[in-house]
Symmetry: C2
Subunit: 404 residues, 2 copies
Amino acid sequence: MTRINNNYLKLPGSYLFSNIAKKVNEFTAANPDKKIIRLGIGDVTRPLTPTIIRSLHDAVDEMADEKTFKGYAPDLGYSFLREAIARVDYKERGCDIAPDEIFVSDGAKCDSGNIQEIFSVDNKIAVCDPVYPVYVDSNVMAGRAGDYISSEERFSNVIYMPCTEDNGFAPEFPEETPDIIYLCFPNNPTGATVNKDALQKWVDYANKNGSVIIYDAAYEAYISEDDVPHSIYECTGAKTCAIELHSFSKNAGFTGVRLGYTVIPKELERDGVKLHSLWARRHSTKYNGAPYIVQKAGKAVYSPEGQNEIKGLVGYYMKNASYILNGLKEAGFTVSGGVNAPYIWLKTPQNMTSWDFFDHLLTKANVVGTPGSGFGPHGEGYFRLTAFGSYENTVEAVDRIKKL
Amino acid sequence: MTRINNNYLKLPGSYLFSNIAKKVNEFTAANPDKKIIRLGIGDVTRPLTPTIIRSLHDAVDEMADEKTFKGYAPDLGYSFLREAIARVDYKERGCDIAPDEIFVSDGAKCDSGNIQEIFSVDNKIAVCDPVYPVYVDSNVMAGRAGDYISSEERFSNVIYMPCTEDNGFAPEFPEETPDIIYLCFPNNPTGATVNKDALQKWVDYANKNGSVIIYDAAYEAYISEDDVPHSIYECTGAKTCAIELHSFSKNAGFTGVRLGYTVIPKELERDGVKLHSLWARRHSTKYNGAPYIVQKAGKAVYSPEGQNEIKGLVGYYMKNASYILNGLKEAGFTVSGGVNAPYIWLKTPQNMTSWDFFDHLLTKANVVGTPGSGFGPHGEGYFRLTAFGSYENTVEAVDRIKKL
């Protein structure tokens, strides 16, 4: 008799964004005349840029000709892409990462969900609170998170590192030493970052304790301040303690194109085993590479034209971020983020719960945001708005919120 | 201190096809003048067909325009694709599968590796022997396979169902009742199939014992005989015991495009929980959908023109299969497969081991095949050749083998 993985049943309710989609669908079904503005899920809205479109068409044409047709990709990604990543994202920033330390994938969500597999089930994880839900949920499914304590809205075997107004939304070293530490800077959902000195302290802490940091750099393209690191490998010693995750979704608008990569330095060992070998084994056994045409598009991102165009994309969204940040400040909200990240993190007014404010905003302003409590217990009483809408919609949404 | 997942260390050597690639690379480096013909890995060589290329270009153009740009796909796949699959692959074959029982993914390799996650670690799996290595390897990584017994080349906690000449390469019910049964027909690597009556017996067996069948139908497009089922859902009662995996790689040439799907009927429950809900949860937590442009190409496969074109592709490869099958028979080899599958399964001559024959063929005929032992202990003494080369190369390879 087949038994199911009971760990799945420990997850409370369904995935945050599925829940939001359901609520919005119900509202629009009941109110078909209302124009909903979505500043909820972190999904981009600008079209792909000309250089990327050209490279996609070229790659499609290659697939039409037997001389240039491509079947299975190399397990870990095409060299042309891994070399471009190593050069632009690392070498030009003074980080020493080799192309064969880079694993190309179909996106950072898969990688951030799957990376825990290479670790023993008895490791204890630490996460920022609030944070992107995939880190905790994927560990729950693997049986690493313990049981859900519903009165506290937390899992019994997860170390939560509160990121609140009091500490400037930056995590502090927890009382209990974690085995695996998930860090995400610029943070989703708070938009907060840490400077290089602060990140160096985390690297030193991990090296001292033999912990591994899983560093999610999905939003690094949005960093505007000089002392905020774009990669954890800017810190001394990071290659013996850190794995870094990257996405093409937010910088190049690839949410529907699907491309990401993970860096595992060859020096990074635990139990005498290179984590690089374990992840390579996972890739070659359970994954078959990102599509050739998508990897070609990824390469185009690193061309001079591509780099220029994606700066334009990021600039477009950051103009939205400024508009939201300033507009909500004017309206009397307590807000943060929006400077090094496309997310604005606001305190709900009148001590409303996050979901109450969600309903309030949906029904009164027809604006969709994301309840902070969906990102962890310390997200309660907060709310996330994203800068990924069109400028016109963003302006309209902020104006509607101001009038509430 | 972080601990690794020790189950990974139980895997002997690296993944079969990575090993082959290494050996071939070494040989070509030492013999740059030799023309290698690859009939090893099951990778297609024909270009994508015109209807698919057109749909890819159209979808790329949609991504260039803000009015038609697509971000994140729906968790479980676009309706346009799921509806086309339900209609052509199921309804037109008399199978009652709804679009929302279909989960679109980036390929059957990922799905066949990941599907075990929704089951408890204490389930016992059964596999055909020989078979596609991902089923066993992914269960080893999850800790479900026990330890590797190197003297027997098998895992202690896996039920191997020998598929040999004696039983016509069709598995028999094992002595011990498995919880999860992996079946792959047409089989990779033997190319063998079972008829509908035989498959019905497996469905009845699973329903009687409460087991779940994971049915890999990756090669169904190659079936040429009438009494061989294309889907397990052609059997009565399969919806309460079977999950089915499909690939676009082998019928439409998508090995480098990446698209597949998994069917989990809503009736399929264990421990009172719908497996459909568990897999939906996995998708929404750890996966972000196949690229829009690839899903559009998938839809084009189901258009009348697309269907016609992929029949041409399959016909091309099956002509190769016939050439290999007949050529090797003439040369005195004992061969099977090649009628309902693009694989030819041959007995190594003079009791050579599979890897010895691999080296023999590589060095003497410069032809790459796949050692049967890489697919399980009962694959020892066998060898797989694929029909996925060009016709010219296939003819040349067979002629070279004949001259050995």
